[in-house]
């Protein structure tokens, strides 16, 4: 798959809305398309965060291994970003990421994109703003989940 078609795939992702076409071109230059069969791991906890993912189709789970087995922390479906450990040192994944269904994703080379962000700080700022929005959204939903909405204390 060539860079042009990766660009088209990325341009269709709502998660990259607000970015300029030229920004999409820059990101696409760091990306390739990949298919993960159900059950496959996209990455493992403590692996180097050399990539992040934009899920086009399918669904992945963020998991953490515990003494009683893996726990699902979150699921992320189509048109969403997976991974921000690539943004900051030590660039290591905190969770396992596994495909629950056959998952089509654009895989972005993190070092490549970081270099482009450093070289063009205006572009880097726009990318960071987009990621910050995703992080804030996830943080807010996580905070709401911490309320244990469906527990007995919140019985309705």
């Amino acid at each position: 798959m060539n860079a042009t078609s990766i660009r088209d795939l990325l341009a269709a992702q709502p998660v990259l809305r607000d970015l300029e076409p030229a920004d999409i071109d820059l990101i696409a230059g760091c990306g390739h398309n990949e298919v993960f069969p159900a059950g496959a791991f996209l990455t493992h906890e403590d692996d180097q965060a050399n990539h992040f993912f934009i899920v086009r189709e399918g669904q992945v789970a963020l998991e953490m291994h515990t003494s009683t087995g893996p726990l699902l922390i979150d699921t992320i479906g189509a048109r969403n970003l997976v991974g921000w450990s690539w943004l900051f040192p030590p660039y290591r994944w905190v969770f396992d990421v596994a495909a629950i269904q056959t998952t089509h994703a654009v895989v972005i080379d993190a070092a490549c994109l970081r270099d482009k962000c450093d070289a063009d700080t205006a572009f880097g700022y726009r990318v960071m703003k987009r990621f910050a929005q995703v992080i804030v959204d996830r943080l807010q939903t996580t905070r709401v989940r911490l309320l244990d909405l469906y527990g007995a204390g919140n019985a309705c």
Binding site: P14, Q59, A61, E63, T68, G69, P70, L71, L72, I73, D74, T75, G77, A78, R79, I100, T141, V144, R145, L147, D148, L149, Y150, G151, A152, N154, A155, C156
Partner: protein, 294 residues
């Protein structure tokens, strides 16, 4: 002289004769015909009338269920006689009375007052897309909505049902949800707060799934029931997506005692939730739920 004892001592269940002139404060006796354990702390009971039955409830209305000798609590109707042949209530054991109701076995007798309040008005959604979002036991008052929509599927546009639960084991009506999922042209998603490997649904807040549903928000009538925080975040997201506030219906939960707009326990701003609700539009609820009251 010792008075002769009747052959059968009178009990609440076997007293016969006409009931006192029924008013909204007089419970009708119903017999429990079925008891189903939905999850660890939630039970669905089916009831058949001993006395004259109450009026057939509309989806979204509630009754006051009286566990004799213990107390009375408001419980939403989870199954209407016209759909099920019996009156159904899904009850979570969170207090003395609800625990007593959850312990009732077939043959037991309860008192029922009602139906009370304003229901979902499902028919007003005909011709539009339908979004039903139920969280935790909030799915119970929405079950009759699902039944009513599926019974007249052709009258509605696209139908999406979004269910939130604490864990897969806490999901209400699990088998029935799978039957709903199998209905063509009905989109069903379940998301939980925590799960183990093997769970094939979603994990996360229900709002994370809203943008993946096959509905057009501006043309959608939404029915939301669950914890108030969930209602607030879902309603705001639907509103932001373009749905008019008066097309978003929410079921309010307040401390209803008399159910007839007298005692004031359920007051929420200018509303008596027992009579003006429990179902109101988001246009009415938004400001009331945004107010921090204590």
């Amino acid at each position: 002289m010792v008075p002769e004892m009747p052959a059968e001592a009178p009990t609440i269940a076997n007293v016969t004769g006409s009931r006192a002139p029924a008013g909204p404060m007089v419970p009708a006796r119903y017999r429990v015909t079925d008891h189903r354990q939905d999850n660890a702390d939630t039970v669905t009971i089916s009831l058949m009338p001993i006395d004259d039955p109450i009026d057939d409830p509309q989806p979204g209305q509630f009754t006051m269920l009286y566990a004799f000798g213990v107390g009375e609590v408001p419980i939403s109707v989870s199954g209407c006689p016209r759909h099920e042949g019996v009156l159904m209530h899904t009850i979570r054991a969170v207090g003395a009375t609800s625990r007593a109701l959850c312990r009732l076995e077939p043959g037991s007798v309860v008192g029922v007052r009602g139906p009370f309040g304003v229901g979902w008005d499902v028919s007003s959604a005909e011709g539009s897309d339908v979004l039903i979002v139920g969280g935790g036991i909030g799915l119970a008052p929405l079950r009759p909505v699902v039944r009513e929509v599926l019974a007249a599927r052709e009258r509605f546009g696209r139908v999406a049902l979004l269910i939130g639960a604490r864990t897969p084991e806490d999901l209400l009506y699990a088998e029935e949800v799978e039957r709903w999922r199998a209905v063509p042209d009905v989109h069903v998603e379940v998301t939980v707060d925590a799960a183990s490997r093997g769970w094939n649904g979603h994990v996360g807040l229900v709002t994370a799934l809203l943008d993946q549903l096959p509905i057009t928000p501006s043309l959608t009538t939404s029915f939301l029931c669950g914890p108030e925080v969930m209602i607030r975040v879902v309603a705001r997201d639907i509103l932001e997506a373009g749905s008019p506030a008066d097309h978003i219906r929410v079921s309010l939960e307040r401390n209803m005692h008399c159910a007839v707009r007298q005692c004031g326990h359920c007051q929420l701003g200018p509303l008596f939730v027992c009579a003006d609700g429990p179902v109101v539009t988001w246009a009415v609820a938004a400001d009331l739920l945004a107010v921090r009251r204590w």
